[in-house]
Amino acid sequence: MARLIRTEKEVEGRFEEVWLVVEEDALQQWPAGAREVVGQPATRVDGLERARGEAVYTADLKLPGMLHTAVLRCPYAHARVARIDLTPALARPGVHGAIGPRDIPQLEEECGYQGTAVAAVAADTFEQARAAVAAIEIEWEQLEPVLDPDEAIARKQLVGEPRERSRGDLEAGLAEADIVVEGEYRTQVVLQSSLETHQSVVQWVGDTIEVYTSTQNIWGVREEVSAALEIPGDKVRVVCHYMGGGFGSKNDADDFTFIAIELAKRTARPVRCALTRREENIASGNRNATIQRLTIGAKADGTLTALGGEYVNATGWGGWSTPVEGPMQQLYSCPNVKTTTWGAKINQPPMKPFRAPGFVEGTFGLESLIDVLAGKLDMDPLELRRKNYAGNDPSDDRPYSGKNLMECYRRAEPHWERRHDVRARSTDTVKRGVGMASQVWYGGGGPPSYAWIRVGSDGHATVVTAMQDIGTGSKTAMAQIAAEELGIPLDHVTVTIGDSARGPYASLSAGSSTIPSMGPAVRAAAADAKRQIIEIAAQRFDLEERVLDITVGNVVSADGNLTVPLTEVLGLLESAQILGKGARGPNPTGMTVLTFGVQVAEVAVDVETGEVWVDRIAAIHDVGRVINPLGAESQIEGGIIQGIGHTLSEHRLHDPRTGQILTTGLDAYKLPTIADVPEIVSELIDQPDEHLTNLGSKGLGEPPIIPTAAAIANAIRDATGAEVHELPISREEMLRALKEAKERGRIGAPKEREGHRAPAGV
């Protein structure tokens, strides 16, 4: 029976209460451990078409008569259009339409950041469109940009309200501390850098708009377009079969989609609007810079008594203020915690979520300062973390639905033990060390999410749901879940996704939510189909339903007397099909659903040149049941590698006087290459979260990037005594920190710190 409930919904750390209709889901979780299909490594169901270049991405789509768009974007950090005349553009060869400010809300006259869309031209070729945009007559009134986030806050120029979160009494906690450490940490702007740039191709078919778009959020785009055009949701068809990376930046319809829609309407032609790489590096979103002013108080035995944080998110001209304080609020058991988080509205392009927004930055600050504290206390950093372990949610004392962080710490021990040997390999110029950092993050997913399944007389099944696979392998995981529940081989399952007109509502792929949101719905749909198959088999063979099961493609009876291939049972149906449907149930009430983990990094630092090598990272994460260990390992490696880029080489720079972006290409903005990759050892606890859904699985997209920067920074401190306070840890920052450490007289004597006792013989 359908049941109406009120429940809490979380995406990327933002919560809202929603009304929800849920179906009862009586399925028991499978026992822990690998099963026939689930828990076994599986190669991607869509791997071959992607590898062969056959997969058609939005970037590859060419509709008959399709026009190309170029967008006039504001070249200044802060400016106003004083005058604009599109007429010269319309007169250019190949041009079919041009739109400007006031034609649609996404084209603006008041430009708060470089890259604000102002006007757009559709033409037969992109080169013609670009030439026409250059012909637009425009006069700018340049305005003074505010670039310093502290100044923006002083001027009360904010994105959102300041967020104060407090428990206990911070001042009292500091007063009772035996030791107080303080630190200011800064993180830079980094770019999601999807290799397929943001883009849409749209066409009107009768009264329906078809939007082919590179998106993480098919249903979100549908809703946005439907609301903006004031047409019913089902008159908007959103399609994304393959997409070339998003990392959080592709959750919205965005200006390019609405530009294409308007130009398609005006020209009666299909229209592509795709960002160039240079536009992508300016206007497609970013992980915003942060300033973190942190205080920790502790007893001499390491018990935390106070955690305080003043956080500034330099969000840019829009977006939202990410939960950069989240790790301080959630990671440790501490009675007195107070954080204030400001969103500074500066004249820079708006942030968009980037893989664990806020928590990556906040973990760098908090976990760096925790290690400083460990050093001051002469305490093993792993011990200090265990000492302050949060058994229940420290903010409201609710139990966790599942938490195995202590087990992660236990499994980290052998990696942590290597520090003695690693340090011993130091030379006069190359110092080596080991550091760790913990991870906490959401990733429980939630309703609503739906799946259908159809099983044919050939014993093959097709899962139908309008979700997207953004490269994380969620399509493969859904096939595994359906195969497992139906008891059929993996290669008998097809998954059809990526089209809002061809399947039910599905979760967005953000907040590590695809598997925990969609997986239970797919399992429920498969179980619904299985129930029907068993009902048919029971009638066919005159047995009770409760003694029948399906396994390895056979209908079997509990006593072993009956083993009939599924095809024989379903063969009766000819072209008829078994149809199953499933819905994601609610998250457990009164419980906190989070993911956990720890990473241990080994680094080498050339103390004369400031060069840092990351040699090895061991990652141990707790995300509930693992559906596909192969895909999970890829997620961990990918997250860590992005984390290494964030830590060492990536930095979007702007001119300090004008605010104009300088790193607009992939030459100046330095993503990691294959040569930057350390040895990566990944381990998953793989213990189903017993309170979470019929699967017990949480998401793994974001957790692995969270602790990487802090683990590397702590390893650097372990190796050299240098305390880095800024990301990226450029040569400049590394050499500064080394000089500072030298002045403190600590260089060359790292073994005296942190209570490290080298084993005999070292």
């Binding site: 791997g47 590898a51 290799l195 997409m243 990376g245 990759v677």
Partner: protein, 145 residues
């Protein structure tokens, strides 16, 4: 009119001078397996073989490869390297993958069993934002399996 041999077929190039090889492949020949991610020669997504050598098609003028033999991912669809990439899970979003495979095939053509160092040296011009690098390395190490 320049003529280019693409995957064994001769094509007359119609585009104006200034058309890049990537544009000719994707727009004129509809061979969209070759991806363009930066258009400035910085990322390697557009890599194709020109007379057997990994070349950035987004900054190569198609008129400059008159008479050359061009191999794109469509010409390697059954190369063992393709299957090795799938087997090793050496792709996530897959957008850089055709370019990765082109570079990998050229590498193993010159040396069937390259060392880790050689793999890293030869593959450093193919960016993968998803970070499939460890698996790419594995795919190249095990392509003959």
């Amino acid at each position: 009119m320049p003529e280019v041999n693409v995957n064994g077929h001769a094509y007359a190039v119609h585009g104006a001078v200034g058309t890049t090889l990537a544009e000719a492949l994707r727009d004129e020949l509809s061979l969209t397996g070759t991806k363009v991610a930066c258009g400035e020669g910085h990322c390697g997504a557009c890599t194709v073989l020109v007379d057997g050598i990994p070349t950035l098609s987004c900054i190569t003028l198609v008129h400059a490869v008159d008479g050359a033999k061009v191999t794109t991912i469509e010409g390697l669809r059954d190369h063992p390297m393709v299957y090795s990439f799938v087997r090793a899970d050496a792709l996530q979003c897959g957008f850089c993958t055709p370019g990765q495979i082109i570079s990998a095939v050229a590498l193993v053509d010159s040396k069937a069993a390259p060392s880790t160092e050689e793999i890293r040296h030869a593959m450093a011009g193919n960016l993968c934002r998803c970070g499939a690098y460890p698996k790419i390395e594995e795919a190249i190490r095990t392509w003959q399996d």
